[in-house]
Structures are given as structure tokens and as C-alpha cells.
């Protein structure tokens, strides 16, 4: 007895966390060793995005799902979004016009007569499926899809879901958390139906969820978590209150979530998972555009931050003066980059309905704080199923959710060094063949950028 105790104190037992972590590292490193021992041509082949197979897997799902999907019967707008958005990232629109009409028709049947979308026809409206349905319709695009959304009633639904704490309830009598805040605010913003009543105290709720670690939890007291952190950060950005978050602490937590596997974990000491390529990785393009806020919080002057070094990194040398955007970007500059103390009051003048568009025009003062190349490697080498679809990690199975968020994260990585989302990245920013390039997204909503612009034009033409 005494001896075994002595033994165990000399050789500390491996804990469950360590055991699981080492098993995953082992799987991942095996893949990387095989990769690095391969010839140049084989490496290119291994890094290739299996575009056609992913498209086939996605198209099949759009047309038919097996009985095992009964457990997702209250998530059908989500299934639609995961698939349609993945296809759009791959540059595929729904090829056949009938299918597009069918999608619009089906989602209309999920729309509640009093506003909002449920998980299927006849189900209670729910904020998360409303977000999924709205993003799906924006991704499908066109007059018919966009005008099928009843914005007046959707606005009333959002307002009904508002609770006293400032947060939102997922559905009538549902759970109140940061996901609910994000899905409500994202939808309100992109549909141009945001107002002070909706925004009231949302920031307070999100702030109460920032933990001692720096990340954001689902509700006050809970553990910092990648999904909620993205939702919280994006929510605050969308309501123009991100300066209230402790950003240095947030960034400190976030950068450490990218592990030796190349991918991201969702929480401290948890395992890597491909879907966090977006939930964690997607926070970086937001942070890139928040340089002035970060510097303000750190007490660093606005002049100095321009000298932040990206030495040793060949960032793409793109023309500052993109003629297409000259007008808007100089306007945006006036808005977002006033020198000195007038900044805070200027920022508060930004109209809530313009934030999504103006956010894109902001200067990117902070270089990407993630390791973009190794994250791409993790997604391409460890998450791809050769037959189509992407997954959480080696030994797991593919699904539409992970396909959507692995691809979203991959798109973020590919475009993160570009000075403007409208210009194609230089070859060095893309791991594998250049044909791996995906469409860029709007980082606040996670819809394809072109589709965002179309929707923005459509909905800004009509105030409620």
C-alpha cells in the first residue's frame, strides 16, 4: 500500500484530460508526419480541398436525408443553412432553379404567422432557427427569397423574446444565453430592423458573461467557450459596444486556444475541434478591425499603433486606392479613425443600421493573431473526409454542421491577410493549390460577402 502510494507520487498518474489530449495529438501528428515525409506532389494532393466530393455530399443532403436525421427534425433551417452556406463557400449556387424555389417555399412554411422561423413547419418560432433561415435566404438571394421574410412580424417576434436582463429568450419560455443575443441581433442587423428597444441592455448581458479567463460564457458564471465568445464579440460589434468588453483579456484567452494540432479548442484544456476553426478563428477578422479600441484600452496612442510590426511577414501589397471603394472608405475613415479624444463620441454616432457595412471598411490595424497556415493544414489534412464532408477531428464522422464551420474557418484563414475582402488573396496566403480558394464571408454574420451586399442593398432600401 505504502509502496504503491510512493510509486504514484513519484510517477503522477495521467489524468483523463491528459490521456485524451495525448491520444488526439498522436493521431494528428501521425497525419502530419506522413504529410511531411511525402513528396512535393503528394503533399499538394493531400492539401487539396476535395471540392467535388464536398459538393456532392452537400447536394445529396439537400435532396434527401436518412431516418437517422429525425433527431434534427427541429433544426431543419439549420440543416438548410449548413448545406447552402457550405455550397456557397465552395462557389456553388443551387444549380437548379426548382430547388431554389423549393428552398424558399419550405422555409416559408417554417415561418410563423406571428413572425420568426421554427425548426420545421408548424413548430414554435425560435431565434436560432430564425438566424439559420434568414442566412439561408440571404445566401439563396434574389427578390423572391429576400422578400419572403416578413420583417415587420420578425421584428415583433424579436421584441417578444427580449427579457428583463437585456438578453433574449431562444423561444417563448426558452433558455436565455449569449447565442440568443447573437442570433437575434445578427438577424435584426442584416434585415435593417434594429432599434434601441432591441439593443437595450444587450451589452450588459454579454458583458456579464465575460469570465475571469477572458473569453465569454453562455451565461454569467459559466466557463469561457468558443461558440459563445464569437457570439458575444459579434453581438457587441453589431450594437457598437465592443469597447465595453475587456479586449486584451479576451485576446489573451483566444490566442491560446489554438493548439499544437493547428486547430482550435473550444475551452481551456479541451480537445481540438474543426468547428472552432470558425467560432474561434472567426473572431480574428473582427479583432483585426478593432485595433483602435484595443489600443485605447491598452492606453496606447492611436499614432503608435500604426507602427505595429508585421516584420518578417510578406503581407500582400495591394493598392490602398481601390477605385470601387474610394468613396465609402474615406467616409468610413472619418467615422472610425478620428485622432485623439473625440473618438468615443464619434463612434456613438454610427447608425445601428450601417454597422454591418461600415465594419468592412474599417482599417485593419491589428495583424491576424492566429496562425493561419497551420489552421488551414488542420482543416485540410485532419478534418476532410476524402469522400466528401468535413469533421471535428480524426476518428470522428463527417456531418453538415462541421462541414459548414470547417469551411467557414478555412475561408476566414484564406482571406485574413488581404487588405480588403474584395481583393483576391495572394497565393502564399492559401495552403494547398490556389484552387482551394473559397468565397469570402462577412465576418459578423457568416454569410458570403456578395450575398451580404445584395441583402444589404435590398433591405436598406426599405426602413420598417
Amino acid at each position: 500500500m505504502a509502496e504503491s502510494e510512493q510509486h504514484s507520487s513519484a510517477m503522477p498518474e495521467i489524468t483523463e484530460s491528459q490521456g485524451k489530449q495525448w491520444a488526439v495529438e498522436n493521431d494528428v501528428f501521425q497525419i502530419y508526419r506522413f504529410f511531411s515525409s511525402s513528396s512535393r506532389e503528394d503533399q499538394d494532393a493531400l492539401l487539396k480541398l476535395r471540392r467535388d466530393n464536398h459538393i456532392e455530399y452537400l447536394n445529396k443532403g439537400l435532396r434527401q436525408l436518412p431516418a437517422s436525421f429525425c433527431t434534427l427534425d427541429a433544426n431543419r433551417p439549420w440543416l438548410c443553412y449548413w448545406i447552402v452556406h457550405s455550397l456557397a463557400l465552395l462557389g456553388e449556387s443551387i444549380d437548379d432553379a426548382d430547388l431554389e424555389d423549393n428552398a424558399i417555399d419550405f422555409l416559408s412554411r417554417c415561418q410563423d404567422q406571428n413572425g420568426g422561423y421554427g425548426g420545421g413547419p408548424g413548430q414554435l418560432p425560435h431565434l436560432a432557427t430564425t438566424y439559420a433561415a434568414v442566412n439561408s435566404l440571404i445566401t439563396i438571394g434574389g427578390e423572391k427569397a429576400l422578400s419572403s421574410i416578413n420583417r415587420e412580424k420578425l421584428y415583433k417576434f424579436l421584441l417578444r423574446m427580449k427579457v428583463a436582463s437585456g438578453g433574449f429568450s431562444m423561444h417563448d419560455g426558452g433558455e436565455v444565453d449569449v447565442r440568443a443575443c447573437y442570433t437575434a441581433i445578427s438577424v435584426a442587423s442584416v434585415l435593417n430592423i434594429m432599434d434601441d428597444d432591441l439593443v437595450q441592455d444587450v451589452g450588459n448581458f454579454v458583458l456579464s458573461c465575460q469570465t475571469y479567463e477572458g473569453g465569454i460564457a453562455g451565461e454569467p458564471g459559466a466557463e469561457a467557450h468558443g461558440g459563445y465568445s464569437f457570439c458575444g464579440l459579434a453581438t457587441l460589434a453589431l450594437i457598437n459596444e465592443v469597447q465595453r468588453l475587456d479586449l486584451p483579456r479576451f485576446i489573451d484567452w483566444l490566442v491560446f486556444r489554438q493548439g499544437v494540432e493547428g486547430g482550435f479548442q473550444g475551452r481551456t484544456n479541451k480537445l481540438v475541434d474543426g468547428c472552432y476553426s470558425f467560432w474561434q478563428g472567426g473572431a480574428f477578422p473582427l479583432l483585426q478591425r478593432l485595433g483602435s479600441v484595443v489600443n485605447e484600452q491598452l492606453g496606447i496612442g492611436t499614432e503608435e499603433h500604426t507602427s505595429i510590426s508585421t516584420e518578417g511577414v510578406d503581407s500582400p501589397d495591394l493598392s490602398e486606392d481601390d477605385p470601387d471603394h474610394e468613396g465609402t472608405s474615406s467616409q468610413a475613415d472619418k467615422h472610425f479613425h478620428p485622432k485623439g479624444k473625440g473618438q468615443t463620441s464619434d463612434r456613438s454616432k454610427v447608425s445601428l443600421s450601417d454597422i454591418g457595412a461600415e465594419f468592412l471598411e474599417r482599417n485593419m490595424d491589428i495583424p491576424p493573431l492566429l496562425q493561419s497556415a497551420v489552421l488551414q493544414d488542420y482543416i485540410l489534412l485532419c478534418c476532410q473526409v476524402p469522400q466528401g464532408g468535413l469533421k471535428d477531428k480524426p476518428r470522428e464522422h463527417r456531418d453538415f454542421y462541421h462541414t459548414c464551420y470547417c469551411l467557414s474557418g478555412l475561408s476566414v484563414c484564406q482571406h485574413i491577410w488581404s487588405k480588403s475582402l474584395d481583393s483576391p488573396p495572394l497565393p502564399w496566403a492559401i495552403r494547398g493549390p490556389y484552387s482551394n480558394l473559397l468565397e469570402p464571408i462577412h465576418p459578423l454574420y457568416n454569410v458570403i460577402l456578395d450575398k451580404y451586399h445584395e441583402a444589404h442593398d435590398f433591405f436598406s432600401a426599405s426602413e420598417l
Binding site: A67, G119, G120, Q123, G174, T211, E223, N269
Partner: protein
């Protein structure tokens, strides 16, 4: 033993109900190849839901619908309406939930429903909720829903007395369990019996530094340590225990990333490094701090003076 399932249309007690099929249109997208049983249960569910029939047969029907898909929040919502109308003993509902949760420990709806039920029962549910979450956490010590529920139960129902010991128990089992560290922070800051963060700081710092020194590669206690000084930057920067822990770790490994990152944070907040610290860090290994700068490039501008290597 599973009894043979009898279709609703062959059950006498349902003969008065007309099932309502799902209106998904002629060519739905993401169509699911439902099994016959699923279709029938849901058709009858829609019938009672639309008729708003809050009866005991509706209650048992919701249980069948939940068995088909525990993620259907509309069914759960309706079940709550029925439970309220029938004034049943809700303790049975907790037993039912324990049964359902077995297969679905990560299902939002089940946990949300459980919170509603336990909230209705009140203080009588305290022990049950703490025992139940303990059971779930014994199978998966990082289950996010279980932890959220437990925190809710502590705040709404009470039962704080044993919570710090419980955290210690879990950390002894797996000191890398960040959820247990987070719960520890929750208890230390929120328990009505412990006097709050300031009263607990001294003993917590000792506990945490011991965990760091035993296992410097464990990020959780490093973050926890910093959290213990939240809103008290002055103590964070001046507490010699913190810097001496860092020095100890750097002595073992000069480019230890958590130690350097913590040091950088202290410097950013105004730490004036003493001789020992200077010698340990910048003299022996400048690469470590460069690495940290790679991760925090915006921290590089001159808020503080880098001490020159000795």
C-alpha cells in the same frame, strides 16, 4: 422489456382525434425519411398541440414525441403547459427527466426543462439537483449543460456548503479540468459562506501556485491565478508570491509560455521587475519573450521600458 408499440390509430382512447400531417409542401428541401412511427406520433402531437388539449393523454403523448426526438423544443414547451394545467407532483417529472437525459446528456431542451421543473419545486429539489449533476459530471466532468445547471441550482436553490470540497475533489482527480477551476472561481466569488474573493484570495493563491508548480504545463491554474486578482491590479502586480512562482517555473524552463505570458501581463500592468526576474527572463532567453510578442504584437509598443539584458 420494451412493449410492442401500438399505432395511435389503433388505440381506442385516441379514436376521437384526427391526426394532423406536417405541412412541408410538395417538394421540401432537407427532407428526412421519417419512420412510420415518427410520422404518426408527430401527427397526433400536432393534433393535440393545435387543439391546445392540456390533458393527461397529451402528457403521455409528449413523452412519446420526446422519445422520437428529444430536441423538439415545441414538444417540451407544450409539455410544460400541460404539466402546469394538471397540477401534478413535479418530483416525478425529475425522475422522468433523469431517464431521458441518460441518452442525451448534451441536449439543451432537457436541461432547460429540468431548470424549469426544479425552479417550480424550489428548495425541496436542491439535493436532487446537486446529486443529479454530480452523477452526470462523474461520466463527463466537462459537460457544459451540467455545470450551468449546477450553478443555477446553487444560486436559485442553495446547497453551497459542500461545493468548494467538490471542486477540490474533481481537481484532485483531474487538475486539468478547467470546468472544475471555473466552478471553483464561481464558488469563491459567489458563495454566501466564504466571504468573497478578497477574503479567499490568500488561501486560493497558495492552492493555485501549488497546482502550477506541480504542473506548470497546465494552463488552467495560470488563468485562475490571474482571475484571483480581478479588479485589483495593484495586488496582482505587487504580490511577491506571483513573481516568485513565475521565476521558479522559468528556472526550470526559460521559455515557458504560460509563465512568460503571465509575466508580460504583469509588465503591461506596471510591474517593475527586480533583479532576480531580469536575470531569469531576459538574460537567459530572449526568444521566449519574442514568442510572446508574436502572439501579442499590439502589446509591443512602448508602454513600458524593456529592461536591458544584464
Amino acid at each position: 422489456m420494451e412493449e410492442e408499440w401500438i399505432p395511435f390509430r389503433r388505440r381506442v382512447e385516441w379514436s376521437d382525434v384526427n391526426p394532423v400531417p406536417q405541412d412541408e409542401g410538395p417538394n421540401p428541401i432537407v427532407p428526412i425519411a421519417y419512420k412510420d412511427e415518427f410520422v404518426e406520433v408527430m401527427d397526433y402531437f400536432r393534433a393535440v398541440y393545435l387543439a391546445d388539449e392540456r390533458s393527461s393523454r397529451s402528457l403521455s403523448l409528449t413523452a412519446e414525441a420526446i422519445r422520437c426526438n428529444a430536441g423538439n423544443y415545441t414538444v417540451w414547451h407544450f409539455r410544460r403547459l400541460v404539466l402546469e394545467a394538471l397540477h401534478l407532483n413535479l418530483l416525478h417529472e425529475l425522475d422522468y427527466l433523469e431517464h431521458v437525459a441518460g441518452d442525451n446528456p448534451k441536449n439543451y431542451q432537457i436541461w432547460h426543462h429540468r431548470r424549469w421543473v426544479a425552479g417550480k419545486i424550489g428548495a425541496d429539489a436542491t439535493v436532487k439537483e446537486l446529486d443529479f449533476t454530480r452523477k452526470v459530471l462523474s461520466l463527463d466532468a466537462k459537460n457544459y449543460h451540467a455545470w450551468s445547471h449546477r450553478q443555477w441550482a446553487l444560486q436559485a436553490l442553495g446547497g453551497w456548503e459542500g461545493e468548494l470540497d467538490y471542486c477540490h475533489h474533481l481537481l484532485k482527480k483531474d487538475v486539468f479540468n478547467n470546468s472544475a477551476w471555473n466552478q471553483r472561481y464561481f464558488v469563491v466569488t459567489k458563495s454566501p459562506f466564504l466571504g468573497g474573493l478578497t477574503a479567499m484570495r490568500a488561501s486560493e493563491v497558495c492552492y493555485t501556485i501549488e497546482a502550477i508548480e506541480t504542473n506548470p504545463e497546465n494552463e488552467s491554474p495560470w488563468r485562475y491565478l490571474c482571475g484571483l486578482y480581478k479588479d485589483d491590479t495593484e495586488s496582482w502586480v505587487t504580490d511577491p508570491q506571483v513573481t516568485s512562482a513565475i521565476i521558479k517555473v522559468l528556472y526550470m524552463k526559460a521559455n515557458h509560455v504560460f509563465a512568460l505570458s503571465t509575466l508580460l501581463d504583469l509588465l503591461c500592468h506596471g510591474l517593475k521587475p527586480n533583479e532576480a526576474l531580469k536575470r531569469r527572463t531576459f538574460h537567459t532567453n530572449a526568444r521566449g519573450i519574442e514568442y510572446t510578442y508574436d502572439k501579442f504584437p499590439f502589446a509591443k509598443p512602448t508602454k513600458y521600458e524593456l529592461p536591458s539584458p544584464i
